[in-house]
């Protein structure tokens, strides 16, 4: 069996479950340690490097990191990674002098970015410091995309948006507001010339539910558009009884907004059962805290309209029984659920009426552009897509990740380097040993439970739309929550030649991660360890045969607490706790001499 190749940047990266799961690969344990030390500005900058919008994301991120967090496998709940990000953003000092600087001399390249959502803003953030001139065309009056017009201000205050977007626009981006791009051809052929174009226009259309009666009243709204109307002040009231059809995250924002506009009976309708609800569990929890009712097993059939007035929605109702990953539903009957307003929140779609189909940009059978998943380039060289515009509705952090990748591609494209020859990730590994039993990180396991976010009083929060519900962690809560992080980036690093097979590491490990065993094929190895390791998603480290007995050292990465006790008990330093720092490729990280491309 070959020794695990820990030289490959992915091996240790994957052990840092949260960082691996984050689309932008934010160095989570590092920023949590910095928060623990009260170094909020440093923590903010570590965040910003990868995710660009720590204050925004610290309130709104879809947090793919949290379900991945190792702490869940240890005590059932993840570290509050997302809300700690907000702590860094809320408590930082003025960081403006630490932002990337824009060179006085431009590099002569001009990039057009369409749409001022998080994807385009990230591209500008990465390219401006490299001397590019960036022009963002935005149809609306302000930047931010859906972050501004769709995410309600009780979740994301406008000041936070303005501040973090300002760091980017403040680099001197040429912002052209209220300038919709009506024709890509015109942009490409127009008086201005661009070296590359980035399309970050999002997925602008809310999906329709055209059942009978849809257009017979004026009280059926599309969720996404309805939220925008609230943002722009066009909608200021709503019926007393509101039905939300669909139970995704948009539905959660709709039901909570309805409560703030004065609705007293708000019901969210899910076609299947609770476990199929698409909304993030925490968003659902927040909605239910606001007395929103969830109705399961209801399929809408028609809007019930009486003399031009919406009076309800008729549903087919079902019973449900679990059948493995799915359910089996049996019809029960029909019923009308009375209501005054219906909000349809069943998804979003892409639409590109403004892109001519003869520009060399191939559209697929669903009429969305064919975009390379890695390079983000379309079938027309020099035209790139990112964010929701590239692969359909996603979230902010994916848009940011796309932006970084697209920026790399644009940078290479502009310098004649093939976009497919991408810079490779690297890493550094350094020992955290400070003394016999001292480490450069807090390796003591803290048994405290996840801290609960304090919310504004129910009565107070409905008075205006913009009262932020979450109050952030207190100093005490922060102090406790940071210690829950297991420092998964501090890796157990093994040096085969040093091991004398004394068993000390195996005996001390609190979670039975380690085993010395005769070499066996990987398939049988997982069942031969000190504790079974059935989760094949989690890696096994295997050493070379050791010198005294020829056995191999095996480590199951799954439940390791990164407590360092194995390294403390190892007499020979064969185990060491080494901090892994991922070096993510970013635009401009690899040096491209301008002479090489004739400039």
């Amino acid at each position: 069996m070959p020794r695990t190749n820990v030289e490959h940047p992915d091996y240790y990266h994957k052990v840092v479950d949260c960082q691996w799961a984050c689309p932008a690969h934010t160095n989570v344990p590092e920023y949590i340690r910095l928060i623990a030390q009260g170094r909020y500005s440093d923590a903010y900058m570590v965040n910003r490097e990868s995710n660009v919008f720590p204050g925004i994301l610290g309130r709104t991120c879809d947090r793919p990191c949290e379900p991945a967090c190792r702490r869940t496998r240890v005590d059932g709940t993840p570290v509050a990674i997302c809300r700690l990000k907000r702590v860094a953003a809320d408590h930082k000092d003025d960081i403006r002098d630490r932002l990337p600087r824009v060179p006085a001399t431009k590099n002569g390249r001009h990039i057009a970015l369409i749409g001022a959502g998080p994807a385009s803003l990230t591209v500008a953030n990465d390219l401006m410091p490299l001397g590019y001139a960036c022009t963002i065309f935005e149809q609306g009056p302000k930047p931010g995309g859906l972050m501004r017009i769709n995410i309600p201000s009780f979740r994301l205050p406008e000041e936070v948006l303005d501040e973090e977007i300002g760091y980017i626009t403040g680099m001197g981006v040429d912002m052209r507001y209220s300038t919709p791009v009506g024709s890509l051809r015109a942009l490409l052929e127009g008086p201005e010339t661009f070296d590359a174009v980035f399309v970050g226009t999002g997925a602008p259309k809310g999906r329709e539910l055209a059942l009978p009666g849809r257009y017979d009243s004026d009280q059926v709204f599309i969720g996404k558009e309805w939220l925008e109307s609230i943002h722009f002040g066009h909608v200021t009231s709503v019926g007393r009884r509101v039905l939300i059809i669909g139970a995704g995250n948009t539905a959660m924002d709709c039901c909570r907004s309805a409560r703030r506009l004065g609705a007293t009976e708000v019901t969210v309708v899910e076609r299947k059962t609770r476990r199929f609800i698409k909304a993030s569990p925490w968003e659902l929890e927040d909605a239910e805290e606001e007395q929103v009712v969830i109705l399961e097993n209801h399929y809408p059939v028609r809007y019930v309209v009486d003399h031009g007035r919406l009076v309800g929605v008729e549903f087919d109702t079902f019973t449900a029984r679990d059948a493995g990953d799915d359910i089996v539903q049996e019809p029960v009957g029909r019923r009308i659920v009375p209501c005054d307003t219906v909000i349809v929140a069943i998804g979003q779609e892409n639409a590109f009426p403004w892109i001519e189909r003869d520009l060399g940009i191939l559209f697929d059978q669903w009429d969305v552009p064919v975009v390379d998943r890695v390079t983000h380039m379309s079938t027309r060289a020099g035209v790139f897509f990112g964010g929701d515009a590239a692969f359909g509705p996603g979230n902010i952090i994916w848009s940011v990740a796309h932006g970084h990748q697209a920026a790399i591609s644009i940078h290479q494209f502009c310098h004649g380097v093939p976009v497919t020859e991408r810079p490779a990730p690297g890493f550094t590994l350094s020992s955290t040993k400070m003394g016999l039993h001292e480490w450069a990180y807090s390796n003591n396991y803290s048994p405290v439970a996840r801290q609960k976010m304090t919310h504004v009083d129910l009565s107070a929060r409905f008075t205006t739309m913009s009262i932020e519900v979450e109050q952030g962690f207190t100093a005490e809560q922060t102090r406790k929550e940071v210690e829950r992080c297991l420092n998964c980036d501090v890796q157990t690093h093994f040096t085969d030649s040093l091991c004398i097979e004394c068993d000390a590491c195996i005996d001390i490990c609190p979670t039975d991660c380690l085993t010395l065993v005769q070499e066996t094929p990987l398939e049988t190895l997982r069942s031969r360890l000190k504790a079974p390791a059935p989760d094949t998603e989690q890696a096994l480290f295997t050493s070379n045969p050791l010198k005294q007995t020829g056995r191999i050292m095996v480590k199951d990465e799954n439940i390791c607490l990164h407590c360092g006790l194995c390294a403390e008990r190892c007499p020979t330093y064969a185990w060491d706790m080494r901090k892994f720092v991922l070096q993510q490729p970013m635009a401009g990280m690899t040096f491209i001499p301008l002479e090489a491309v004739g400039r």
Binding site: I506, D507, C513, E568
Partner: protein, 351 residues
Amino acid sequence: MTYLPKPRVQHPALTTNAIGLTRRDYEGALTTLCAGCGHDSVTAAIVQAFWELSVPPHTVGKLSGIGCSSKTPAYFLREAHGFNSVHGRMPSVATGAGLANSALALIGVSGDGDSLSIGLGQFAHAIRRNVNLLYLLENNGVYGLTKGQFSASADRGSKSKKGESNEMEPIDPVLVALTLGATFVARSFSGDKAQLVPLIKAGLAHQGFAFIDIISPCVTFNDHEGSTKSYAYTREHQVEVVHADFIPRREAIEAEQPADALTSVVLHDGSTLRLRRVADDYDPADRDRAYAAIRERQQHGEVLTGLLHVATGARDMAGQQQLPEMPLYQVPYDVLCPGADALAQLQRRYR
């Protein structure tokens, strides 16, 4: 010391034994021995054995003398009774504890210094009395606690860390035990839990004095080249002759393997020892031949390990003294001490 407590978190798949405890419930305080000390592995083997046997920790008495080895009872079975005696005097304390409470499962942990120098007399008499005690000798060839002087078990020619050679003949505790008539004599190695754990279980079930000499390298003072008690040396020279598998009473015995290599011994409590002869000329039932074989192979530099001798049926101390079944501490006071009149009556008989 800046040691952290070992986190109480455990692997979610960690199973419980017949009395609902996990292996972690059999641990003790965090060790203060040197990292890599063989004694810690023995501790882990003890934890494993008691857990597998589902022994309620509070029914155990753990005893020791002085030395790194003798410190180890603090590191297992935190809920057991314990007594850390003076140097070399653990056998007397164990004898007393066994007399007072025959229901306690007694485990004594000692070192080569503790047992073969200052405590040699005590060791010998505990064997002779056949005290019902599992006696583990964590043998590293040095006085670890006092910084690595040669002990009485150091082999002739073995080198100290500084390079001096030991000139005296060693005392081999296994040969001493056989000479004195011990009925359960084993040798093992801290680095071989597959062998050690079943031996500990068998020793606990054995009625009478059960002795296991465990080569347990001192990683700090006796793990260098030239040492005959190092990890590397032991691994090169250890030869297992009889492998013992312990089968508790309640478990069914699986189909027998080829008869010539297997012998079954039924222990006092109904459990079974299955002895698998690894070397074909070795007979653990025959004390004299066992002695001779160990001596003979020692000349060739081999260290025989496994269950080297076992005999059942001998009466232990309680049997020899005709003690009642009921532990003495439970016998009502007026029965145990019938008073001045009864004493006077007894004395009259001798007048």
